[in-house]
Amino acid sequence: MAETRVQNIVGRTNSDRIILALTILAALVLLIPIMWVVGLSFKLNNDLKIDPNSVFRLPYTLKNYIDVISSSSVFRWLLNSLIVSIGSTICILILSSLAGYGFARLNFPYKNIIFIIVLFGLAVPEQAVIVARHQIFSFLKLHNSYPGLILPGLSASFGVFLMTQYFKAIPKEIDEAAMLDNASRFRIFWKVLLPLTIPAQATLGIFTFLGAFNDYWWPLISATKKEMYTITTGIASMQMNFAQTEGLGFLMAQAVFAGLPTLLVYLFFQKYIVTAVSGSAVR
């Protein structure tokens, strides 16, 4: 085994070695801030106030984590974020799959025009519609509610586009074979085609989950009651004026807690994330 590893390294070309070295360097650059946050979370606030570099010295403490568990609202905000993220993900997967199937396989009037209108959504930034959306949600009394946080994310042009392209890439012969067996449209969709789209579903699901979990702006102006904050707005609300100078260790312990779900998603679904980033989810 060790011999194989040596051979692997020896057998590489110089360009491979350079790429490997750059990859390690890039990984370190990305890891250092995370390690910094974790390190700070194990230090007393007062020590950090005097010298943030004390993170490299003893003593370390679990006090910040104990404080988070015993007195912080972070669990409530984490729950809110999970409800919103999971809710958005499930809804978007359902809607995008159905819409994608419809655009890829069905014929209906003005299909192409409707598809283009959907694609226009990719070109409209959130900032352009935020005021109108806020007004609509005010009128509907949906602010400070889970639907108020989930619904805006459901107009997912990217999801519809991705699933349409994926369904289009599946040979129509599969549908025809199922039709010969008397399968209904929905049965073909549900039993035959949907299982084939799992890589795309995973990609879309991960992006949707991470996007909803990390969203800041809409929760900031829609969820204005403390009990409805998501983790991003909640942690921001805990900072003092001229942030970060007091309670830094406590703040970082909360950030570690807040980052755990995202980390878990990455750990369990990294295969699909790589696929998604490399673009191979869209055949």
């Binding site: 950090l48 106030k49 005097i50 010298d51 943030p52 404080d67 988070v68 015993s70 007195s71 912080s72 609202s73 806020h134 007004q135 949600f137 005010s138 602010h143 400070n144 900031l220 102006i221 829609s222 204005t224 009651k225 403390k226 707005t233 921001a236 609300s237 805990m238 900072q239 003092m240 004026n241 001229f242 942030a243 970060q244 100078t245 007091e246 309670g247 830094l248 406590f250």
Partner: protein
């Protein structure tokens, strides 16, 4: 027996009816929204305000105490990211603003001019608070069109926080132990050079990166010292003046001659000064408590050697200063008489307890507290007390003061760090600010 059962049923029904008729013990609920962060781990349940410290600790404990003292009122706290105005604007747009909100006095005009704040004269009167009890700066800050729009709780300004240990090393101490403070720009540069020569460290510890407020506030102070009427017309700023150029030139000279720390953001500045990185930290009233506590501990660069003064009078003339203030404002919304009474009670509590708030380092918003021996006995208040009588805010008709602060801070920083010519930076600041004010 039947008669007995009938009687029993009748008694039970009567008792139930009576119980239903007696009103349940009802709490009046009000929501207060504030910045200053959260500190539940340390002060989440503390009701002894005297044992709290720092802005967050004190305000949390004050509200806890109010809730404990007033079981008929429930104050729900909504803490928001500083300064929280985006959120407040969104809440107002959706018709769900809080009952009370912490607001900088410099921001009141923005909301008041759009009719989004209630005048609170009647609430104050009913609660027994006389606006005459406010400090002059506080009263000016919350009065718009002859009406009171908020309860002022402090005035705050930026200051020179001084490491006396390093000043001693630099021979910058008077015979009475006080620091030698410059009285002109030339003296400032000379002192800063002497300091650097003797200690090997920069004179000023400043946040020059990702920080806009400090440059702007210093700018206002030095412009006020020169009697520059940069906001003669509240809808237009005039920055293309010799006075403004002098101030930025001084800041740039300090920067170019390495007499200040560079490329530090706010947290780095705070930690750096506590670590003895330089002689003077340019920061606000709000860090006095922390730095004083640090100086009373052993084994750090500030041990036994901290004091604080207003920014020195470098441009001659009469003493002049700039300050802003924190206040409690009441957004416009429908409220019951009970809620209005509860708000009045809350404001009265905050006004009466303004001494505790002043322990943060801020100058009180209530004159009686400012005059009290208790306040004057707090550490270092003697050296900064003059601010209370000389500090002025921007004219109250000037809108978007936070946005103006950001623009001016950006442009001054770009001039100081050499990214822009001073004249160009001031002209750009003026044009951007006037454009903003012309398109409200």
């Amino acid at each position: 027996m039947t008669k007995f059962i009938k009687g029993l049923v009748l008694a039970a029904v009567s008792a139930a009816t009576l119980a239903a008729a007696v009103p349940a013990y009802a709490q009046t609920e009000i929501t207060v929204q504030r910045f200053f962060g959260t500190c539940d781990a340390d002060f989440g349940t503390n009701t002894d305000v005297s044992k709290s410290a720092g802005e967050c600790g004190i305000i949390t404990s004050q509200i806890n105490k109010f809730n404990a003292d007033n079981p008929d009122i429930k104050v729900t706290v909504n803490s928001v990211e500083w300064p929280g105005y985006d959120q407040l604007t969104a809440q107002m747009a959706s018709g769900e603003p809080p009952d009370l909100v912490t607001m900088h006095e410099s921001v009141i005009s923005d909301y008041q001019s759009k009719g989004q704040l209630e005048p609170i004269d009647d609430v104050l009167k009913a609660a027994g608070i006389d606006p005459a009890a406010f400090t002059a700066a506080g009263r000016d800050g919350v009065t718009k069109d002859g009406k009171i729009y908020a309860l002022p709780i402090d005035s705050h300004a930026i200051l020179w926080h001084i490491n006396l240990n390093l000043f001693k090393q630099a021979d910058l101490i008077n015979a009475d132990g006080t620091p030698k403070l410059p009285t002109s720009v030339d003296e400032l540069i000379a002192e800063a050079k002497q300091f650097k020569e003797k200690t090997g460290k920069p004179f000023l510890v400043q946040a020059t990166a990702n920080e806009k407020a400090m440059f702007t506030r210093a700018m206002y102070i030095y412009l006020n010292q020169q009697k520059s009427d940069y906001f003669a017309d509240p809808t237009k700023i005039n920055l293309t003046t010799p006075e403004a150029k002098k101030v930025v030139q001084m800041m740039k000279d300090i920067y170019d001659q390495d007499l200040t720390t560079k490329d530090q953001d706010y947290p780095a500045m705070v930690a750096g000064f506590a670590n003895g990185d330089g002689g003077v930290e340019v920061n606000g009233t709000w860090v006095i408590g922390d730095l004083d506590t640090l100086s009373k501990q052993e084994g750090n660069p500030l041990s036994g050697g901290y004091t604080v003064y207003p920014l020195p009078q470098l441009f001659g003339g009469e003493p002049s200063y700039y300050s802003d203030g924190h206040s409690w404002a009441m957004p416009k919304k429908d409220r019951s008489p009970e809620q209005l009474a509860a708000i009045g009670k809350f404001l009265k509590f905050m006004a009466d307890d303004d001494y505790d708030w002043s322990r943060t380092g801020h100058i009180p918003g209530i004159q009686a507290v400012l005059d009290s021996a208790e306040f004057k006995a707090l550490p270092h208040r003697d050296t900064i007390l003059s601010i209370a009588s000389i500090a002025k805010a921007l004219p109250s008709a000037v809108q978007r003061q936070f946005a103006i602060q950001d623009i001016l801070g950006e442009e001054v920083a770009s001039a100081v760090t050499g990214q822009k010519d001073i004249d160009a930076a001031l002209a750009d600041a003026q044009s951007r600010i006037n454009d903003l004010l012309a398109n409200l």
